[in-house]
């Protein structure tokens, strides 16, 4: 397929996941903070911004560190390339440039998602029904993913779409864990529960670990679960699967090698060992590994496309250029 089309599908996947993860994070944070002190609240929002790697962008916007300001920045600020509105719009624009590669149903579900989001009164949503808004974003992202899974042939286009989607998911999950790990004490029962909930992981977690809420178990589940689709390892294995199938004649390409190493590090990790050492640093290495994979994918598959002039547009603040 055209290198440019592959790149657009990759980014359409990334942006959709970015929108969904951000909505999940905001939803859980907002509702878990309703009864906390202003100081704790500010600290929690700082964590959210750091998890989506927009702390610097937010500081530059000069807004106060309040729920309203952060939510606005992350939901509807069209100057913020990482806001939900912008991410969905860019997912739609990327899909639009490869529309002939998509099933009609996939395009329609993504297009109407973008149009409906744009048509909503987001200010009012944030003021009066944030939970409804975040649920809307999450459900529509899931709808798009479901329609894609049901209507797209498992060809190259599909693989790049899934690859982008899962690399973004793994990276976001990794950052969320690393922020939570820094912020939360081992006894912060509600906060660890909220962390699981933001990944829709609470029920699945309970089935595996019962009602205990040991941070060791939470980290193991969100980082190393081989069965839960939003865990870091599960997302990376999904991505690896697609990369393997993209390889021509089994060629051991650079992105395959890199991703294989990151996956192996997690597959053979022991959570207690990780947590008795420097978990923050380990998570940073995983995150860095994911970024290197994304860059190598671009070099391997997209560098045939136009001279990367659009690429700078795609990069989120904080991404290495």
């Amino acid at each position: 397929m055209l290198a440019r089309d592959a790149e657009s599908l990759f980014w359409a996947g990334r942006y959709l996941e970015r929108a969904e993860s951000t909505a999940r994070l905001l939803d859980v944070t907002y509702h878990s903070l309703l009864e906390t002190s202003p100081a704790e609240e500010a600290e929690a929002w700082r964590g959210v911004l750091s998890a989506v790697r927009l702390d610097q962008g937010f500081a530059e916007s000069g807004r106060p560190l309040t729920a309203a300001a952060v939510s606005e920045f992350l939901v509807l600020d069209s100057d913020n390339p990482g806001s939900i509105l912008t991410a969905v719009e860019r997912a739609r624009e990327n899909a639009r440039t490869v529309r002939e590669q998509l099933s009609t149903e996939l395009w329609e579900s993504l297009n109407s998602f973008g149009l409906e989001l744009r048509g909503r009164d987001l200010q009012a949503d944030l003021a009066f029904q944030p939970h409804e808004l975040y649920g809307f974003v999450r459900r529509r992202c899931q709808t798009v993913a479901g329609v894609a899974a049901e209507t797209m042939a498992r060809d190259e286009g599909w693989r790049f779409f899934v690859l982008g989607w899962n690399l973004e998911r793994a990276e976001m999950a990794c950052r969320l864990l690393s922020v939570r790990w820094r912020q939360l004490s081992p006894t912060a029962f509600h906060e660890w529960m909220a962390t699981l909930r933001s990944a829709s992981a609470l029920e699945a977690y309970r089935r595996q670990y019962r009602a205990s809420m040991d941070p060791v178990d939470v980290v193991e589940f969100l980082l190393l679960s081989r069965t839960f689709p939003r865990s870091v390892l599960f997302s990376l294995r999904t991505a690896r699967n697609e990369l393997d199938r993209l390889a021509v004649d089994g060629e051991m390409s650079r992105p395959r090698r890199q991703l294989g190493r990151v996956c192996a590090g997690l597959e053979f990790a022991d959570v207690r060992e990780l947590m008795s050492g420097d978990l923050g640093h380990e998570l940073f290495l995983v995150e860095e590994g994911i970024r290197q994979v994304a860059l190598s994918v671009a070099t391997q598959y997209f560098s045939n496309s136009h001279e990367f002039d659009l690429h700078s547009l795609h990069l989120l603040p904080g991404d290495p250029g």
Binding site: L2, R4, A6, E93, R99, E100, Y301, N304, S305, H306
Partner: protein
């Protein structure tokens, strides 16, 4: 004037106003080929139609069936407005149109191929003046010697037809460069069958959804001979910001081929390739939706970033076929258009089946004097513009506009023509919650391959403003699904039973 719709219902108060009406004859009687449709519609109230119209708009919007309007530099996505009442062409009328279009495109292909790679016989024999051809904006020296297999230079034509006061179909423009609109033809049909399924059922309408297959086989036929059984065909678009981008996507996906932009293509050693995830892949046929001037910055506009450097040289080397052929614009020149009936006689030996609109060539002193004398009754058009731009319609222009127009013509008579005002036929169209007559034209699409194929129907464009003769979508026009019937509808059995009845199929 007889009252076309005395009984209450959708057509209450409808007037033909002395125009040729597609649905009603001059005496207000329903034309027989519309009778079954009107019978089915009699079960509808205007509220029903308004509601179905909203359904249609919502469907078009979520499907992204849009075109882009530019307003003060800002592009706005608009859904293409489709009127819910279809236009119907009976089989015998269509036979006449089809024969006329096949004849016309045959002659135009012959003329263009002769001009660019042949003996230029029509010019040597004085059918069209040499100076006229060579002074045309669409004439392209760079196209000399570039072959097109089968001489299919007008691979896709979108010939604009109008019906005059007597109902005679006349050719207004040939559109041999990059005619657009076929995607709306197909989408309109899909929308009609969804929004008004009961109206559509059992009407024996010829289908239009084979277009992608026909286009792909025509494109494959004109591939360079060396490219083998399965030539690589691509659609070349200026990109997502082009107003017809929806159509480019649509055609690529209907054909199952790549939609490329100029930056996806590279020419090396006169061979065109596209950049893929697995390196370069050779391209044999380019269905381009970019104007001549932007195709190749080496040959044409050097500031064009839409094109591909070296493309023309690759075409000249016979390594790639560009469709439609470069240089077709010369035959779209409205002054050259005036000679098409002569070209038909010259190349086919027959008289034109579909007449032109009466045209005055303004460089000719006598014709100019006559035309300027009656300028308030004529339409003056620049010869090189498309899309309805720059037209002055005499009867509705102010004295100052006419005077300015007269001065422009006198300063540069080669670049203008004048035509008789054609009182375009009208068709009932939904305006708000009732039906009114609106002027329409018809753009059938013609494919040149092994033989010439006309897609049944075409895009009926509607001037949505009352009294307006301008149907271009860039100027606020709408469209209609256009039905070509396979057979004449049956005459009513009982001559007394002239009241439309619902046949009760749902």
């Amino acid at each position: 004037m007889p009252d076309v719709a005395a009984e209450p219902g959708l057509f209450e108060g409808y007037e033909v106003d002395g125009f040729f009406d597609e649905v009603f004859d001059a005496d207000g009687r329903v034309r027989p080929h519309y009778a079954p449709l009107l019978a089915r519609l009699s079960g509808f109230t205007s509220d029903d139609l308004v509601r179905q119209g909203r359904l249609r708009d919502a469907a078009f919007r979520s499907q992204g069936v849009t075109f882009t309007v530019y307003d003060e530099g800002e592009g706005i996505e608009r859904t293409f407005p489709m009127d819910l009442l279809p236009r119907i062409v009976p089989a015998d009328e269509w036979d006449h149109i089809e024969a006329g279009l096949v004849q016309r495109v045959t002659a135009l292909n012959a003329f263009l191929d002769d001009l660019y790679v042949g003996e230029r016989a029509a010019i040597h024999d004085g059918i069209v003046p040499t100076w006229l051809v060579e002074s045309s904006d669409g004439f392209c020296r760079e196209a000399f010697g570039i072959p097109v297999p089968l001489g299919a230079r007008c691979l896709v034509s979108g010939v604009d037809l109008v019906r005059d006061g007597e109902g005679t179909y006349r050719v207004l423009e040939d559109n041999l460069r990059n005619p657009s609109g076929i995607s709306y033809v197909i989408q309109n049909r899909v929308a009609m069958t969804r929004v008004l399924p009961t109206v559509f059922a059992h009407q024996q309408v010829r289908s239009v959804d084979h277009y992608g297959r026909s286009l792909l086989s025509a494109l494959a036929l004109v591939a360079p001979p060396a490219s083998g059984d399965r030539p690589t065909v691509v659609v070349l678009t200026p990109g997502v910001f082009n107003s017809a981008y929806f159509e480019h996507v649509f055609l690529a996906s209907q054909m199952g081929v790549e939609l490329v932009e100029g930056r996806d293509l590279v020419v090396d050693d006169h061979v065109v390739s596209m950049r893929t995830t697995r390196g370069l892949q050779r391209v044999d046929v380019i269905y381009r939706r970019i104007d001549d001037g932007f195709l190749d910055p080496v040959v044409f506009r050097s500031d064009s970033t839409l094109g591909v450097p070296g493309l023309m040289a690759a075409a000249r080397a016979g390594n790639v076929t560009i469709a439609n052929a470069v240089g077709n614009g010369v035959a779209d020149d409205k002054a050259v258009y005036a000679f098409v009936p002569d070209l038909i006689r010259y190349y086919t030996g027959d008289e034109a089946i579909l007449p032109n609109v009466q045209t005055y060539l303004l460089w000719d002193e006598d014709q100019r004097a006559e035309a300027l004398d009656r300028i308030d009754q004529l339409v003056v058009k620049p010869v090189a513009e498309a899309g309805g731009y720059g037209i002055v319609i005499g009867p509705s222009a102010t004295d100052a506009e006419l005077e300015a127009c007269r001065r422009r013509v006198e300063a540069d008579p080669r670049h203008y023509i004048a035509q008789e005002v054609v009182p375009l036929s009208r068709h009932p169209s939904l305006v708000g919650d009732h039906l009114e007559g609106r002027h329409v034209d018809l753009r059938p699409f013609v494919l040149s391959g092994e033989r010439i194929e006309v897609i049944p129907g075409g895009l009926t464009r509607v001037a949505m403003r009352r009294g307006s003769l301008v149907v271009n979508s860039s100027q606020g026009g709408g469209s209609k699904d256009t039905w070509v019937l396979t057979a004449e509808p049956e005459e009513p059995d009982d001559p007394d039973d002239d009241e439309p009845t619902d046949r009760g199929d749902g």
